[in-house]
Structure formats: C-alpha cells, structure tokens
C-alpha cells in the first residue's frame, strides 16, 4: 500500500512521494560543524 510508504516509509514505495523526497532533499539537515549543540 502506498499509504504505508507515506506514513512510515514501509511497504511499496510510491514513485510520486519518492520524487518529492528527492526534490526536497536539498533542504534536509546534514551533519555539519555548523549544526552542533550550542554552548553558552
């Protein structure tokens, strides 16, 4: 079921959802030194 993929990424992959994931991947957080827990 495609609904399962949308909900928890399990089951049969939905090509439309996968395309959106790929398109929006540039906005995903990445492990960079800029992103570290702040120290005060």
């Amino acid at each position: 079921m495609h609904d399962e993929y949308l909900w928890d990424r399990s089951g049969e992959a939905d090509p439309e959802i996968q395309k959106l994931e790929a398109v929006l991947a540039v906005y995903r957080s990445r492990d960079r030194s800029k992103h570290a827990a702040p120290r005060i």
Binding site: W7, L20, E21, L24, K34, H35, A37, P38, I40
Partner: protein, 157 residues
C-alpha cells in the same frame, strides 16, 4: 551519561530535559540530536532557507536559556517547535523591514538548488502551518509519521 537512540517516549525526554535543566550539557546535546531534524524541518516552512540555516542555533540557544521556564517536561518537543515558529516569525518580520525580500528569495534560489526544489518549497509555504511543517518533516527530513508525532506531539487525527 549514555542515552539510547531512536524514537523516544515522553518519559525518556522528560528525564533528559530534567538533567539538562540541572546543567548536564550531555543531556542537552542528546536533546539537540533528537530534535535538530524537527527544528530544521520547521524553519524553512516559515522563512527563506538561507535564513533557516542561521536560525537553527538561535532556536537551541533560546531553548537552553529558557529551559527553567518549561513547566511540562514531557512537552519539550511541542515547546521547542513553538520557539522555532516564534523566532522564525519575529526574524521574518524584522528582515522584511530591512531587506528586499525579492532579493533574498533570489539569493535563496541560487544556493545550488534546482528550480524544481525551489518551486516545491514555494508550493508548500502557503499551506496551513500544520500541513507545511509536516510535509517538510516527512519529505525533506524524511522523518516517518510516528517520528513526527513523537517529536511534535501532532497526531494523525
């Protein structure tokens, strides 16, 4: 101090929050690791992406400073999301008075992102808050529905 990873219960979060309030930086670092994707997903739903990146640290600094004011320890995720939304809103309002928003959008779209990516983000931004944040968390951050529910306290109903 070691903490397990993965989707955590509110009870586990509460213990971390209490420990962080007591000055345990490791505990706050673990909270940061658990919630950084949520904050990173919420911010671009409200402000240009280039500004969202910079606001990440501000959100967590403010959370650390205000931690003693958090009344319900189990509501940390919801509370943190509210801080992110408020800071994004304030920041956007201040910037609107200082810079050319169109210029900012052009700079944002020029950061090695395809027109398709920018168009998708622009299509998401006008949606109601709960939808646009959930879409960014699910599609950009690739969090699952259960993860989003656990972090933000939003439910599918």
């Amino acid at each position: 101090m070691a903490f397990p990873s993965g989707v955590k219960s509110h009870a586990a979060d509460s213990a971390l929050v209490q420990s962080a309030r007591d000055g345990n930086r490791t505990a706050f670092g673990e909270l940061y690791e658990r919630y950084k994707r949520m904050v990173h997903g919420i911010l671009p739903a409200h402000v240009p992406y280039c500004e969202a990146e910079d606001l990440m640290q501000t959100v967590f600094v403010q959370a650390l400073q205000r931690l003693p004011q958090l009344r319900e320890l189990e509501s940390f995720g919801r509370w943190l999301a509210a801080i992110a939304r408020n800071l994004a809103s304030d920041h956007h309002r201040q910037r609107r008075n200082l810079v050319d928003i169109d210029k900012l959008k052009r700079a944002d779209s020029g950061l090695a992102r395809s027109g398709e990516s920018q168009a998708a983000l622009e299509a998401i931004r006008p949606l109601p808050e709960a939808y646009r944040e959930t879409l960014m968390l699910r599609l950009a951050e690739r969090m699952t529905g259960p993860e989003i529910a656990a972090r933000t306290s939003l439910t599918p109903d």
